[in-house]
Assembly symmetry: C2
Homo-oligomer: 279 residues x 2
Amino acid sequence: MNITIIGLGLIGGSMAIALKAGKICHHITGVDSNTLHCEQALQLGLVDETATLGAGIAIADLIIIAIPVDKISEILPGVLDLVKMQVVMDVGSTKSVICAQVTEHSNRKRFVASHPMWGTEFSGPAAAVKAAFKNKAAVICNKNESAKDALEMVENVYRTLDMHLIYMNAEEHDVHAAYVSHVSHITSFALANTVLAKEKEDDKIFELASGGFESTVRLAKSNPLMWVPILQQNRENVLDVLNEHISQLNKFKSCLENENYEYLTTLIQEANTIRKILK
Amino acid sequence: MNITIIGLGLIGGSMAIALKAGKICHHITGVDSNTLHCEQALQLGLVDETATLGAGIAIADLIIIAIPVDKISEILPGVLDLVKMQVVMDVGSTKSVICAQVTEHSNRKRFVASHPMWGTEFSGPAAAVKAAFKNKAAVICNKNESAKDALEMVENVYRTLDMHLIYMNAEEHDVHAAYVSHVSHITSFALANTVLAKEKEDDKIFELASGGFESTVRLAKSNPLMWVPILQQNRENVLDVLNEHISQLNKFKSCLENENYEYLTTLIQEANTIRKILK
């Protein structure tokens, strides 16, 4: 099988490594508008060759689109215009806008909308890592809108990455993703900005930064070129969850203001039940 | 040297392991009001024997108090009443209230106020780990209030744990700790409660939880018996930082409400500068 990956960043690059290692394909073509990324991907051995979008599509059995979600929405209809029996999958962090973009497309059945739930705060081909997706969830959305053979090919890709498959519709995915991923990023960005604002008057503030700080703020290093489009496309869900999160924070604030340590204990005990999810 | 550790939990237990390994002492006595913790600490080989508070103090050259900060404030004056030439150190996450408690004590010079900046979300003797404190910061507060030999002994303890020493006054410590530790815990607790509230109507919400969620919510497993007293003792600083954090979150909210994606990009780029701190 020939695979063409559009977008040679963290996700595209890491998929290239895993798909080669999983022997699912013998040839990977890379497409990226950033020529530096193309060169790096070749040097790092992520892809066998690079090509233009049109040539990359023509040569492929499977086309994986791994670029920011605004760019996926932009190019997906044009990519589907060019395919015949090939399969096209995206790996974007939002699904509703992307799916809506091609609902009426005559080649809709060749497309499988998906989201592998893995990432790091780093970007670019040099950020690609081995065994990246292992044991994480991969979501496939609106599977009934895809042809059976297309769906099976994409399922096979995710099994090769050692991921477990979850099926839901695009709207449901976007609500869930707002809760378990998108708002985590906003809290991290906001926490980083809180401490960075303080640093302007107090240059020793970071001397005490410990593991707890690092883990809550790690995501604040994430790239705005990826994240602004995600937050834009999932704006309504993210706003709902952000409002809920701010109201939860205000409960902690009221407890401290009113010195209600009994209720503060209750709030923390409730939070502790997250143990049933996170080992 | 004989060391007595009061409190055989995560911190006390991990210190016992490291101090034994660092050959700084030949005998460690454990004191804990929880008899189960005493038994576990003996079984795990964290301590050589357990004793009552009075006996533990009498036998020791150095007494390490590693219990929740409200309990430190409670017992510290009584512990200092009992010492002669021994050294007493605490490892609590707040410093102002604890230091204020003993400012006028006749044995104040035998006490060194400190805070090793390390922890995990787990507690109890079984949570104790090897090499726990390595390469982290240890803060010593109000060092001029301690006798030279007492200070040197505590500095030696932290060097044995491979920590680097930072000196500041107790008030300064508490402001810094609010920024880089205490508010991180509140955001984690609040984020856990946000998602747990949603789970009541949507039992599949956690299927998508990925690494990003795990890292921002990890601290939500932390024990209220430890954290309520910290937030209580550092209430004013925590409220200041929490207000600032909520106002930073509201900036992200306004950007989404007003679809101001340019300013959203700026906010994320600002947050990205945290890279200079977190590698």
